[in-house]
Symmetry: C2
Subunit: 420 residues, 2 copies
């Protein structure tokens, strides 16, 4: 008798989706290889805290192979995927090749400049730990230079921070930057007044946090303005040059421009010869499989899908995790049955929206859970609670809590370090 060979599943990407998928197959009789170009899983929702000196990088990053150390069927590789042949069922990495029976594409998104990729040179994106640590160093350096600068125009530019994009990332960044100047750095300088830091949030739509109801957007606007942030809504950025940004008929000057305006799929998807949307996301079938490749799936920020209820699935971590579970069920069923299934025969994915929340600053947040709307302190506490609970597998959950709590009562921040 010939031993039945184990099915080999290749997971590309160790974000929320990829990891959740691996956990679904923990200690089962399949062989999983997971490949990521970083050695760590990143808790992206707190990336802005690293960028604004609240947390250190390692506090929101956990080594993938440590998270998966008890998954004996799973091998982790640090490698960069350069191409995928869906026909030959093999992915080519920088260091080696990975063949598969099933493929799960969960490589996530990158910052989008809407076709103006050269703007990247003049702005800071916020997708990786490196981005965050880079912003932290840059912001601190601008204030250091301002302390020595005698030209008032240059000094003003050094003390101005522009944040593009009024989604959660932009709002959180702008709020945290304003608090940094207003509270954290108080008494730290002799020649400049850090409470005079100017933070401008630029949003093309007519309101910030546009995915929330208008009444909550309005509350968020009031909260962020109370921190001293200037909010410009209704006009798109038309050009970005070094330390300059054009919006409507104005030119804003700032040594720091943070770009949180949009994301797009990583470029790999465009080379796959599969249907993609404008943001490069793969238009998957209702079961999350890639058209004409029933053994290959895309999920999370990489997938474009209108779910079984007719709603577009948003690019948020709960959606990626739900898709991962769904795909795991589909694959598990197929392996158990021992024969290939047609995508039409498989269950369609339905996104369960458990609500969403965005934080603006200390005691300032909004939350929308079904018909329940919250803002201010209750929303902020809910945000804190949920984010701590969801720091899954993060051993330092309690330590992160302590750090936050300390920052809360003392208005000091623990990670004000320039790396260079």
């Amino acid at each position: 008798m010939i031993a039945k060979t184990k099915k080999k599943i290749l997971v590309l990407g160790g974000g929320f989706g990829g990891l959740e998928f691996c956990q679904q197959f923990k200690n089962t009789d399949v062989e999983i290889e997971i490949v990521d170009q970083k050695n760590h899983h990143l808790f992206q929702p707190l990336l802005y805290q690293v960028a604004t000196c609240g947390l250190s990088g390692p506090q929101i990053a956990q080594p993938l192979r440590d998270i998966l150390r008890k998954n004996d069927n799973t091998t982790t590789y640090l490698d960069e995927i350069e191409g995928i042949s869906l026909e030959e069922k093999v992915a080519k990495g920088k260091h080696r090749s990975y063949s598969y029976d099933y493929l799960v594409l969960a490589l996530g998104a990158r910052t989008s400049y809407f076709g103006n990729n050269h703007w990247a040179e003049h702005t800071h994106g916020l997708k990786t730990l490196q981005d965050a640590v880079g912003i932290r160093s840059h912001v601190l350096e601008c204030l250091e230079r301002a302390e020595m600068e005698e030209d008032p125009d240059v000094r003003r530019k050094l003390m101005t921070f522009l944040v593009v994009g009024g989604g959660p990332t932009g709002v959180e960044m702008a709020g945290a930057l304003a608090e940094l100047g207003k509270h954290v750095l108080k008494r730290n300088f002799r020649n400049i007044d850090p409470t005079k830091v100017r933070v401008v949030l630029v949003e093309g739509a007519d309101r910030i946090l546009g995915t929330y109801s208008p009444s909550l957007s309005e509350k968020a606007l009031k909260q962020i303005e109370s921190l001293g942030v200037e909010v410009l809504c209704g006009d798109m950025v038309s050009d970005v040059r070094p330390e300059e940004l054009d919006v409507a008929d104005k030119t804003l000057r700032a040594s720091t421009i943070i770009w949180g305006a949009g994301v797009e799929a990583i470029s790999l998807t465009r080379d796959l010869d599969v249907p993609t949307d404008r943001a490069g996301r793969i238009k998957v079938l209702p079961d999350c499989s890639i058209p004409n490749h029933p053994e290959a799936f895309a999920l999370g920020d990489l997938a474009h899908l209108v779910d079984a209820k007719g709603k577009p699935v948003p690019g948020v971590s709960p959606a990626a995790m739900q898709m991962a579970k769904h795909v795991a069920t589909v694959i598990e069923k197929e392996i158990k049955s021992g024969k290939a299934s047609h995508p039409d025969q498989r269950k369609s994915f339905t996104y369960l929206d458990k609500g969403s929340m965005a934080t603006i600053g200390r005691s300032k947040a909004i939350a929308e859970i079904g018909k329940l709307k919250m803002s201010g302190l209750p929303a902020w506490l809910a945000w804190l609670l949920i984010h701590l609970i969801f720091l899954v597998g993060f051993r330092n959950r309690l330590l992160v809590l302590f750090d936050w709590f300390y920052s809360y009562i003392s208005f000091r921040r623990g990670a004000r370090v320039i790396f260079n």
Copy 2:
């Protein structure tokens, strides 16, 4: 009546010596400028913990201007000093110039390659946070590459770590690297066995930790060998090439070579036209002033001094802090008296040795306090206590303790992140 102008003191360097000096003049009627090329004070004794994933960088770094926020007479500048004119009493920075009435040189040391500066290209020094984070990333990357490597020779090289220098830095590094493989990374890999990591400690003298008594050196040797570290004593490194090191008649091959063999003064001292020793340290007068410049002082790793009791002052942080206090007393006295004093009339510096300790690994350390000698767990607990107490001004002392304690009981480490 003309207002008496305040005396202007320029402090170069925000290490233990420079900061201690500033604190001595807190809220007094002088004007202090402190300049450092880093924005943070670094708790160097724990740098090896950052290099071996035990702590994150920000946990051992505190912003200088935050430490000094309540010193209203003190202005902090982030600048790199490029030259000093002792005649004109002015230091030239990259960004501006700094004139002074009194100068305190406390810029510290850098890694010394004993004249073979090209060895720096093939090895990792350990003096800055960047060095430590660089070693951390490199070590983790080597193991990642080993997990993918099929050639057994290359794999062995990737899993070999050479540490040059059997002083505290080298011993701590070697011990922590061995523990990383033996305990922390257990079960994390599928193709390699991290407990098989080879750590070699190379020391030119005939015993490690040569500043301690021979009996303690012997105990340290047993403790570090019990962790699996190979110790080579009695031969100097004769050459270093990429991934190769010659010692005695052997060539050792390793992808990681860490250099902790020696320090020398930063190069600036050699341009000052003042007497220096072979390591570039300024030969100061008994009051710590620079010969022929009674208003300029050097202290810490930058100063060469045989103290009033005839003992050479060692390059350790307690010595730097004691020198800082001494210099502060000398300057204060002179300012109060209103007239310049001659170095001969000033009090001579005497170093008070409060003992020293070195850690080797979990529950492994040695300590020598006067005639008291300790090793093993008691020495390790003493080391832990002293280092926590001396994390002066570090707000996260308690958090660092928690992190250590957690690492101690779980053998996991919180900062296993590759930054690149």
